[in-house]
Subunit: 209 residues, 2 copies
DNA sequence: GCTCAATGTGCCACTGTGTGGCATTTGCTC
DNA sequence: GAGCAAATGCCACACAGTGGCACATTGAGC
Protein backbone atom coordinates (compact mmCIF):
# COMPACT_ATOMS: atom_id res chain seq x y z
CA UNK A 1 0.00 0.00 0.00
CA UNK A 2 0.94 3.67 0.30
CA UNK A 3 1.64 4.03 -3.40
CA UNK A 4 -0.60 7.08 -3.74
CA UNK A 5 -0.19 10.01 -1.42
CA UNK A 6 -3.13 11.67 0.27
CA UNK A 7 -2.67 14.86 -1.64
CA UNK A 8 -3.13 13.10 -4.93
CA UNK A 9 -6.09 11.18 -3.62
CA UNK A 10 -7.88 14.25 -2.39
CA UNK A 11 -7.29 16.11 -5.59
CA UNK A 12 -8.97 13.21 -7.36
CA UNK A 13 -6.67 13.62 -10.31
CA UNK A 14 -4.01 11.38 -11.78
CA UNK A 15 -1.65 14.23 -12.51
CA UNK A 16 1.20 15.17 -10.20
CA UNK A 17 1.09 17.52 -7.24
CA UNK A 18 -0.26 20.99 -7.90
CA UNK A 19 2.58 23.39 -8.66
CA UNK A 20 1.00 26.70 -7.78
CA UNK A 21 0.63 27.95 -4.23
CA UNK A 22 -3.00 28.73 -4.85
CA UNK A 23 -3.85 25.14 -5.71
CA UNK A 24 -1.87 23.77 -2.79
CA UNK A 25 -3.77 26.06 -0.45
CA UNK A 26 -7.10 24.94 -1.84
CA UNK A 27 -6.05 21.32 -1.46
CA UNK A 28 -5.14 21.90 2.17
CA UNK A 29 -8.58 23.27 3.00
CA UNK A 30 -10.11 20.27 1.20
CA UNK A 31 -8.01 17.92 3.30
CA UNK A 32 -8.77 19.78 6.51
CA UNK A 33 -12.48 19.67 5.76
CA UNK A 34 -12.49 15.94 5.00
CA UNK A 35 -10.38 14.98 8.03
CA UNK A 36 -12.17 17.25 10.49
CA UNK A 37 -15.50 16.05 9.14
CA UNK A 38 -14.69 12.40 9.91
CA UNK A 39 -13.45 13.38 13.32
CA UNK A 40 -16.38 15.62 14.28
CA UNK A 41 -19.08 13.39 12.84
CA UNK A 42 -17.48 10.44 14.58
CA UNK A 43 -17.68 12.17 17.93
CA UNK A 44 -21.15 13.70 17.86
CA UNK A 45 -22.79 11.67 15.11
CA UNK A 46 -23.45 12.75 11.55
CA UNK A 47 -27.03 13.96 11.84
CA UNK A 48 -26.45 15.57 15.23
CA UNK A 49 -23.53 17.64 13.97
CA UNK A 50 -24.52 20.88 12.22
CA UNK A 51 -22.44 21.82 9.24
CA UNK A 52 -21.59 25.06 11.02
CA UNK A 53 -19.66 23.10 13.64
CA UNK A 54 -17.36 21.84 10.91
CA UNK A 55 -17.08 25.26 9.30
CA UNK A 56 -16.23 26.93 12.60
CA UNK A 57 -13.58 24.32 13.39
CA UNK A 58 -11.86 24.53 10.02
CA UNK A 59 -12.54 28.27 9.90
CA UNK A 60 -14.03 28.21 6.45
CA UNK A 61 -17.13 30.00 5.26
CA UNK A 62 -20.22 28.13 4.18
CA UNK A 63 -19.78 29.38 0.64
CA UNK A 64 -16.25 28.03 0.37
CA UNK A 65 -17.30 24.65 1.69
CA UNK A 66 -19.94 24.23 -0.99
CA UNK A 67 -17.45 25.15 -3.64
CA UNK A 68 -15.35 22.16 -2.56
CA UNK A 69 -18.05 19.63 -1.71
CA UNK A 70 -21.53 19.13 -3.06
CA UNK A 71 -23.12 18.40 0.30
CA UNK A 72 -22.55 17.52 3.93
CA UNK A 73 -22.77 13.86 2.95
CA UNK A 74 -20.21 14.36 0.21
CA UNK A 75 -17.43 15.46 2.53
CA UNK A 76 -18.18 12.60 4.92
CA UNK A 77 -17.84 10.07 2.10
CA UNK A 78 -14.50 11.36 0.84
CA UNK A 79 -12.64 8.17 1.75
CA UNK A 80 -15.18 5.97 -0.01
CA UNK A 81 -15.06 8.11 -3.13
CA UNK A 82 -11.28 7.95 -3.13
CA UNK A 83 -11.44 4.18 -3.11
CA UNK A 84 -13.64 4.01 -6.18
CA UNK A 85 -11.64 6.68 -7.94
CA UNK A 86 -8.48 4.65 -7.51
CA UNK A 87 -10.39 1.52 -8.46
CA UNK A 88 -11.40 2.99 -11.81
CA UNK A 89 -7.85 4.03 -12.67
CA UNK A 90 -6.63 0.60 -11.59
CA UNK A 91 -9.21 -0.98 -13.86
CA UNK A 92 -7.98 1.15 -16.75
CA UNK A 93 -4.42 0.00 -16.20
CA UNK A 94 -5.06 -3.74 -15.88
CA UNK A 95 -5.34 -6.14 -18.79
CA UNK A 96 -8.88 -7.48 -19.00
CA UNK A 97 -8.71 -11.19 -19.79
CA UNK A 98 -10.35 -14.30 -18.39
CA UNK A 99 -13.44 -14.36 -16.17
CA UNK A 100 -14.74 -10.86 -15.47
CA UNK A 101 -15.44 -11.73 -11.84
CA UNK A 102 -11.73 -12.35 -11.40
CA UNK A 103 -10.86 -9.15 -13.24
CA UNK A 104 -13.08 -7.21 -10.86
CA UNK A 105 -11.79 -8.97 -7.76
CA UNK A 106 -8.14 -8.55 -8.73
CA UNK A 107 -8.60 -4.89 -9.57
CA UNK A 108 -10.24 -4.46 -6.17
CA UNK A 109 -7.37 -6.20 -4.39
CA UNK A 110 -4.85 -4.12 -6.32
CA UNK A 111 -6.76 -1.00 -5.32
CA UNK A 112 -6.65 -1.96 -1.64
CA UNK A 113 -2.92 -2.42 -2.01
CA UNK A 114 -2.58 1.08 -3.40
CA UNK A 115 -4.29 2.88 -0.55
CA UNK A 116 -2.05 4.49 2.07
CA UNK A 117 -2.08 4.22 5.85
CA UNK A 118 -3.97 7.45 6.26
CA UNK A 119 -6.80 6.10 4.15
CA UNK A 120 -6.95 2.89 6.18
CA UNK A 121 -7.54 5.04 9.22
CA UNK A 122 -10.27 7.20 7.73
CA UNK A 123 -12.14 4.55 5.76
CA UNK A 124 -13.36 2.43 8.69
CA UNK A 125 -14.52 5.60 10.43
CA UNK A 126 -16.45 6.44 7.29
CA UNK A 127 -18.07 3.00 7.25
CA UNK A 128 -19.23 3.43 10.82
CA UNK A 129 -20.76 6.77 9.94
CA UNK A 130 -22.57 5.21 6.98
CA UNK A 131 -23.96 2.44 9.18
CA UNK A 132 -25.21 4.99 11.66
CA UNK A 133 -26.82 7.58 9.40
CA UNK A 134 -29.60 6.68 6.94
CA UNK A 135 -28.86 9.76 4.90
CA UNK A 136 -25.20 8.82 4.49
CA UNK A 137 -26.21 5.27 3.69
CA UNK A 138 -28.38 6.45 0.84
CA UNK A 139 -25.66 8.68 -0.57
CA UNK A 140 -23.16 5.87 -0.28
CA UNK A 141 -25.36 3.40 -2.17
CA UNK A 142 -26.08 5.97 -4.84
CA UNK A 143 -22.40 6.62 -5.34
CA UNK A 144 -21.81 2.89 -5.74
CA UNK A 145 -24.53 2.80 -8.39
CA UNK A 146 -22.86 5.64 -10.29
CA UNK A 147 -19.53 3.84 -10.17
CA UNK A 148 -21.15 0.67 -11.48
CA UNK A 149 -22.17 2.57 -14.57
CA UNK A 150 -18.56 3.62 -15.12
CA UNK A 151 -17.31 0.09 -14.59
CA UNK A 152 -19.81 -1.27 -17.10
CA UNK A 153 -18.48 1.13 -19.73
CA UNK A 154 -14.96 -0.10 -19.09
CA UNK A 155 -15.81 -3.79 -19.14
CA UNK A 156 -18.03 -4.01 -22.18
CA UNK A 157 -21.44 -2.94 -23.42
CA UNK A 158 -23.22 -1.23 -20.49
CA UNK A 159 -26.57 -2.22 -21.97
CA UNK A 160 -25.76 -5.94 -21.68
CA UNK A 161 -28.00 -7.45 -19.01
CA UNK A 162 -25.57 -10.12 -17.87
CA UNK A 163 -22.71 -7.64 -17.60
CA UNK A 164 -24.75 -5.26 -15.49
CA UNK A 165 -25.83 -8.10 -13.26
CA UNK A 166 -22.26 -9.27 -12.86
CA UNK A 167 -21.14 -5.83 -11.74
CA UNK A 168 -24.07 -5.54 -9.36
CA UNK A 169 -23.04 -8.89 -7.89
CA UNK A 170 -19.41 -7.88 -7.55
CA UNK A 171 -20.19 -4.62 -5.79
CA UNK A 172 -22.67 -6.40 -3.52
CA UNK A 173 -19.98 -8.95 -2.71
CA UNK A 174 -17.58 -6.14 -1.87
CA UNK A 175 -20.12 -4.62 0.50
CA UNK A 176 -20.62 -7.98 2.20
CA UNK A 177 -16.86 -8.36 2.59
CA UNK A 178 -16.82 -4.93 4.23
CA UNK A 179 -19.52 -6.02 6.68
CA UNK A 180 -17.31 -8.95 7.70
CA UNK A 181 -14.31 -6.65 8.04
CA UNK A 182 -16.00 -3.84 9.94
CA UNK A 183 -15.91 -5.31 13.49
CA UNK A 184 -12.11 -5.26 13.86
CA UNK A 185 -11.01 -3.34 10.76
CA UNK A 186 -7.44 -4.61 10.64
CA UNK A 187 -6.07 -3.40 7.27
CA UNK A 188 -4.28 -6.70 6.67
CA UNK A 189 -7.51 -8.67 7.00
CA UNK A 190 -9.48 -6.91 4.29
CA UNK A 191 -8.00 -8.75 1.26
CA UNK A 192 -8.77 -12.05 2.96
CA UNK A 193 -12.39 -11.09 3.49
CA UNK A 194 -12.64 -9.98 -0.12
CA UNK A 195 -11.25 -13.28 -1.39
CA UNK A 196 -13.53 -15.28 0.87
CA UNK A 197 -16.62 -13.35 -0.21
CA UNK A 198 -15.81 -13.62 -3.91
CA UNK A 199 -15.20 -17.34 -3.65
CA UNK A 200 -18.59 -17.70 -1.93
CA UNK A 201 -20.50 -16.19 -4.84
CA UNK A 202 -21.31 -19.44 -6.65
CA UNK A 203 -22.18 -21.29 -3.47
CA UNK A 204 -24.57 -18.60 -2.35
CA UNK A 205 -26.61 -19.10 -5.52
CA UNK A 206 -26.95 -22.79 -4.61
CA UNK A 207 -28.21 -22.14 -1.07
CA UNK A 208 -31.24 -24.24 -0.08
CA UNK A 209 -33.80 -23.71 2.64
CA UNK B 1 -53.51 -9.37 -10.09
CA UNK B 2 -55.80 -6.93 -8.29
CA UNK B 3 -56.12 -9.09 -5.22
CA UNK B 4 -55.28 -6.23 -2.88
CA UNK B 5 -57.12 -2.96 -3.12
CA UNK B 6 -55.35 0.37 -3.04
CA UNK B 7 -56.82 1.31 0.31
CA UNK B 8 -55.27 -1.70 1.94
CA UNK B 9 -51.98 -1.11 0.22
CA UNK B 10 -51.75 2.47 1.31
CA UNK B 11 -52.61 1.64 4.86
CA UNK B 12 -49.69 -0.79 4.79
CA UNK B 13 -51.58 -3.19 7.00
CA UNK B 14 -52.89 -6.67 6.44
CA UNK B 15 -56.11 -6.03 8.34
CA UNK B 16 -59.37 -5.15 6.65
CA UNK B 17 -60.63 -1.72 5.70
CA UNK B 18 -60.75 0.88 8.44
CA UNK B 19 -64.18 1.03 9.99
CA UNK B 20 -64.21 4.50 11.47
CA UNK B 21 -64.78 7.63 9.44
CA UNK B 22 -61.71 9.20 10.99
CA UNK B 23 -59.40 6.51 9.70
CA UNK B 24 -61.01 6.49 6.28
CA UNK B 25 -60.51 10.24 6.05
CA UNK B 26 -56.88 9.94 7.04
CA UNK B 27 -56.41 7.21 4.48
CA UNK B 28 -57.95 9.40 1.80
CA UNK B 29 -55.50 12.23 2.45
CA UNK B 30 -52.66 9.70 2.34
CA UNK B 31 -53.89 8.45 -1.01
CA UNK B 32 -54.40 11.95 -2.34
CA UNK B 33 -50.90 12.93 -1.28
CA UNK B 34 -49.27 9.89 -2.88
CA UNK B 35 -51.22 10.15 -6.14
CA UNK B 36 -50.87 13.91 -6.51
CA UNK B 37 -47.18 13.62 -5.67
CA UNK B 38 -46.54 11.20 -8.53
CA UNK B 39 -48.56 13.40 -10.84
CA UNK B 40 -46.95 16.72 -9.89
CA UNK B 41 -43.40 15.38 -9.68
CA UNK B 42 -43.90 13.68 -13.03
CA UNK B 43 -44.90 16.97 -14.64
CA UNK B 44 -42.37 19.41 -13.21
CA UNK B 45 -39.68 17.03 -11.98
CA UNK B 46 -39.03 15.94 -8.42
CA UNK B 47 -36.34 18.42 -7.43
CA UNK B 48 -37.98 21.30 -9.26
CA UNK B 49 -41.30 20.83 -7.46
CA UNK B 50 -41.46 22.45 -4.02
CA UNK B 51 -43.29 20.50 -1.38
CA UNK B 52 -45.62 23.47 -0.99
CA UNK B 53 -46.93 22.86 -4.49
CA UNK B 54 -48.11 19.44 -3.38
CA UNK B 55 -49.51 20.78 -0.12
CA UNK B 56 -51.43 23.55 -1.87
CA UNK B 57 -52.88 21.12 -4.40
CA UNK B 58 -54.05 18.59 -1.84
CA UNK B 59 -54.93 21.41 0.57
CA UNK B 60 -53.07 19.92 3.48
CA UNK B 61 -50.85 21.70 5.95
CA UNK B 62 -47.12 21.01 6.11
CA UNK B 63 -47.51 19.60 9.60
CA UNK B 64 -50.13 17.09 8.52
CA UNK B 65 -48.00 15.96 5.61
CA UNK B 66 -45.05 15.14 7.84
CA UNK B 67 -47.28 13.18 10.16
CA UNK B 68 -48.16 10.91 7.22
CA UNK B 69 -44.82 10.74 5.41
CA UNK B 70 -41.28 11.02 6.67
CA UNK B 71 -40.02 13.13 3.80
CA UNK B 72 -40.70 14.41 0.33
CA UNK B 73 -38.88 11.37 -1.01
CA UNK B 74 -41.01 9.08 1.10
CA UNK B 75 -44.28 10.09 -0.50
CA UNK B 76 -42.79 9.79 -3.98
CA UNK B 77 -41.67 6.23 -3.27
CA UNK B 78 -45.03 5.05 -1.97
CA UNK B 79 -45.57 2.59 -4.83
CA UNK B 80 -42.13 1.04 -4.35
CA UNK B 81 -42.66 0.65 -0.62
CA UNK B 82 -46.02 -0.97 -1.24
CA UNK B 83 -44.37 -3.56 -3.46
CA UNK B 84 -41.87 -4.59 -0.81
CA UNK B 85 -44.51 -4.55 1.88
CA UNK B 86 -46.61 -7.01 -0.10
CA UNK B 87 -43.48 -9.00 -0.91
CA UNK B 88 -42.70 -9.54 2.78
CA UNK B 89 -46.21 -10.74 3.56
CA UNK B 90 -46.06 -13.00 0.52
CA UNK B 91 -42.80 -14.41 1.77
CA UNK B 92 -44.36 -15.11 5.14
CA UNK B 93 -47.19 -17.04 3.52
CA UNK B 94 -45.14 -19.20 1.15
CA UNK B 95 -43.51 -22.48 2.10
CA UNK B 96 -39.73 -22.12 1.96
CA UNK B 97 -38.26 -25.24 0.41
CA UNK B 98 -35.72 -25.91 -2.30
CA UNK B 99 -33.21 -23.42 -3.69
CA UNK B 100 -33.56 -20.02 -2.00
CA UNK B 101 -33.09 -18.23 -5.30
CA UNK B 102 -36.23 -19.89 -6.54
CA UNK B 103 -38.07 -19.09 -3.32
CA UNK B 104 -37.18 -15.42 -3.75
CA UNK B 105 -38.06 -15.36 -7.43
CA UNK B 106 -41.38 -17.12 -6.94
CA UNK B 107 -42.35 -14.85 -4.05
CA UNK B 108 -41.52 -11.90 -6.27
CA UNK B 109 -43.64 -13.23 -9.12
CA UNK B 110 -46.50 -13.93 -6.72
CA UNK B 111 -46.18 -10.38 -5.41
CA UNK B 112 -46.40 -8.93 -8.90
CA UNK B 113 -49.53 -10.99 -9.42
CA UNK B 114 -51.07 -9.50 -6.30
CA UNK B 115 -50.64 -5.85 -7.26
CA UNK B 116 -53.67 -4.10 -8.72
CA UNK B 117 -54.07 -2.05 -11.89
CA UNK B 118 -53.74 1.23 -10.06
CA UNK B 119 -50.34 0.17 -8.77
CA UNK B 120 -49.20 -0.82 -12.25
CA UNK B 121 -49.96 2.71 -13.32
CA UNK B 122 -48.15 4.46 -10.48
CA UNK B 123 -45.11 2.20 -10.20
CA UNK B 124 -43.55 2.94 -13.62
CA UNK B 125 -44.03 6.64 -12.98
CA UNK B 126 -42.20 6.18 -9.71
CA UNK B 127 -39.34 4.41 -11.47
CA UNK B 128 -38.98 7.27 -13.90
CA UNK B 129 -38.81 9.73 -11.02
CA UNK B 130 -36.13 7.62 -9.35
CA UNK B 131 -34.08 7.54 -12.53
CA UNK B 132 -34.32 11.28 -12.83
CA UNK B 133 -33.58 12.41 -9.28
CA UNK B 134 -30.36 11.46 -7.47
CA UNK B 135 -31.99 12.12 -4.13
CA UNK B 136 -34.85 9.74 -4.87
CA UNK B 137 -32.39 7.18 -6.17
CA UNK B 138 -30.52 7.23 -2.89
CA UNK B 139 -33.68 6.85 -0.86
CA UNK B 140 -34.84 4.03 -3.09
CA UNK B 141 -31.60 2.09 -2.72
CA UNK B 142 -31.60 2.62 1.01
CA UNK B 143 -35.12 1.29 1.28
CA UNK B 144 -34.10 -1.81 -0.67
CA UNK B 145 -31.25 -2.34 1.78
CA UNK B 146 -33.62 -2.14 4.72
CA UNK B 147 -35.93 -4.67 3.10
CA UNK B 148 -33.01 -7.01 2.50
CA UNK B 149 -32.40 -7.06 6.23
CA UNK B 150 -36.02 -8.13 6.78
CA UNK B 151 -35.80 -10.81 4.10
CA UNK B 152 -32.63 -12.20 5.66
CA UNK B 153 -34.43 -12.63 8.97
CA UNK B 154 -37.22 -14.54 7.26
CA UNK B 155 -34.94 -16.80 5.21
CA UNK B 156 -32.40 -17.85 7.86
CA UNK B 157 -29.60 -16.43 9.93
CA UNK B 158 -29.10 -12.79 8.86
CA UNK B 159 -25.47 -13.00 9.92
CA UNK B 160 -24.72 -15.74 7.38
CA UNK B 161 -22.45 -14.33 4.69
CA UNK B 162 -23.74 -16.51 1.87
CA UNK B 163 -27.36 -15.79 2.72
CA UNK B 164 -26.78 -12.05 2.72
CA UNK B 165 -24.95 -12.29 -0.58
CA UNK B 166 -27.77 -14.33 -2.08
CA UNK B 167 -30.33 -11.71 -1.09
CA UNK B 168 -28.14 -8.93 -2.42
CA UNK B 169 -27.92 -10.82 -5.71
CA UNK B 170 -31.66 -11.39 -5.89
CA UNK B 171 -32.52 -7.74 -5.26
CA UNK B 172 -29.88 -6.66 -7.78
CA UNK B 173 -31.38 -9.05 -10.30
CA UNK B 174 -34.81 -7.58 -9.65
CA UNK B 175 -33.46 -4.07 -10.29
CA UNK B 176 -31.89 -5.22 -13.55
CA UNK B 177 -35.18 -6.78 -14.60
CA UNK B 178 -36.83 -3.45 -13.91
CA UNK B 179 -34.30 -1.68 -16.12
CA UNK B 180 -35.27 -4.00 -18.97
CA UNK B 181 -38.95 -3.43 -18.33
CA UNK B 182 -38.83 0.33 -17.93
CA UNK B 183 -38.82 1.36 -21.63
CA UNK B 184 -42.31 0.05 -22.43
CA UNK B 185 -43.66 -0.85 -19.00
CA UNK B 186 -46.35 -3.25 -20.15
CA UNK B 187 -47.60 -4.94 -16.96
CA UNK B 188 -47.80 -8.34 -18.63
CA UNK B 189 -44.12 -8.20 -19.63
CA UNK B 190 -42.69 -7.77 -16.16
CA UNK B 191 -42.84 -11.43 -15.03
CA UNK B 192 -41.04 -12.44 -18.22
CA UNK B 193 -38.24 -9.98 -17.57
CA UNK B 194 -37.96 -11.22 -14.00
CA UNK B 195 -37.70 -14.86 -15.12
CA UNK B 196 -35.14 -13.98 -17.76
CA UNK B 197 -32.97 -12.02 -15.36
CA UNK B 198 -33.09 -14.71 -12.68
CA UNK B 199 -32.16 -17.41 -15.16
CA UNK B 200 -29.20 -15.27 -16.27
CA UNK B 201 -27.68 -15.15 -12.79
CA UNK B 202 -25.38 -18.16 -13.14
CA UNK B 203 -24.28 -17.23 -16.65
CA UNK B 204 -23.35 -13.73 -15.62
CA UNK B 205 -20.89 -15.12 -13.09
CA UNK B 206 -19.21 -17.02 -15.94
CA UNK B 207 -18.83 -13.98 -18.21
CA UNK B 208 -15.38 -13.63 -19.82
CA UNK B 209 -13.66 -10.63 -21.32
C1' DG C 1 8.61 46.41 -7.35
C1' DC C 2 4.01 47.67 -9.42
C1' DT C 3 -0.16 46.98 -11.72
C1' DC C 4 -3.77 44.17 -13.55
C1' DA C 5 -6.55 40.26 -14.31
C1' DA C 6 -8.04 35.99 -12.49
C1' DT C 7 -9.36 33.17 -9.02
C1' DG C 8 -10.59 32.09 -4.40
C1' DT C 9 -13.03 33.67 -0.37
C1' DG C 10 -16.34 35.94 2.93
C1' DC C 11 -20.61 37.97 3.91
C1' DC C 12 -25.52 38.57 3.23
C1' DA C 13 -29.95 37.36 1.95
C1' DC C 14 -32.96 33.95 0.24
C1' DT C 15 -35.40 29.35 -0.81
C1' DG C 16 -36.74 24.87 0.75
C1' DT C 17 -36.99 20.91 4.01
C1' DG C 18 -38.15 19.22 8.30
C1' DT C 19 -39.51 19.84 13.56
C1' DG C 20 -41.65 21.41 18.01
C1' DG C 21 -45.32 23.86 20.49
C1' DC C 22 -49.89 25.06 21.04
C1' DA C 23 -54.54 26.30 19.99
C1' DT C 24 -58.46 24.60 17.26
C1' DT C 25 -61.36 21.56 15.00
C1' DT C 26 -63.28 17.02 14.07
C1' DG C 27 -64.97 12.63 14.94
C1' DC C 28 -66.03 9.06 18.58
C1' DT C 29 -68.44 7.64 22.99
C1' DC C 30 -71.58 7.89 26.44
C1' DG D 1 -75.43 17.31 23.77
C1' DA D 2 -71.02 16.89 26.81
C1' DG D 3 -66.67 15.22 27.21
C1' DC D 4 -62.63 13.20 25.30
C1' DA D 5 -59.01 11.83 22.19
C1' DA D 6 -57.06 12.31 17.85
C1' DA D 7 -56.11 14.83 13.85
C1' DT D 8 -55.22 19.23 11.96
C1' DG D 9 -53.61 24.04 11.20
C1' DC D 10 -50.72 27.77 12.25
C1' DC D 11 -46.51 29.86 13.95
C1' DA D 12 -41.75 30.04 14.79
C1' DC D 13 -37.45 27.85 14.39
C1' DA D 14 -33.04 25.10 12.90
C1' DC D 15 -30.44 23.56 9.21
C1' DA D 16 -28.95 22.63 4.27
C1' DG D 17 -27.87 24.65 0.12
C1' DT D 18 -27.66 28.73 -3.57
C1' DG D 19 -26.89 33.26 -5.77
C1' DG D 20 -24.93 37.90 -5.79
C1' DC D 21 -21.49 40.97 -4.85
C1' DA D 22 -17.46 42.95 -2.64
C1' DC D 23 -12.82 41.95 -1.04
C1' DA D 24 -8.38 39.69 -0.77
C1' DT D 25 -4.80 36.89 -2.50
C1' DT D 26 -2.10 35.00 -6.17
C1' DG D 27 0.29 34.85 -10.56
C1' DA D 28 1.83 37.35 -14.77
C1' DG D 29 3.48 41.13 -17.54
C1' DC D 30 6.03 45.23 -17.54
Amino acid sequence: MAAACTARLLSMTTSGEPATLRERKKLRTRQALAETAISLFGERGFDATPLDALLDTVEVSRRTFFRNYRSKEDVALTAAKQLWSVFLTTLDETAKSGPLVDVFRDALLATLDRMDDDWYQRFPATLRLVEQSPSLNGHSLRHCAEIQEEVAHRLGDPRDLELRMLIEFCVATWRCALDEWLPDCAPGDLPGHVRRAFSAMKDSLLLRA
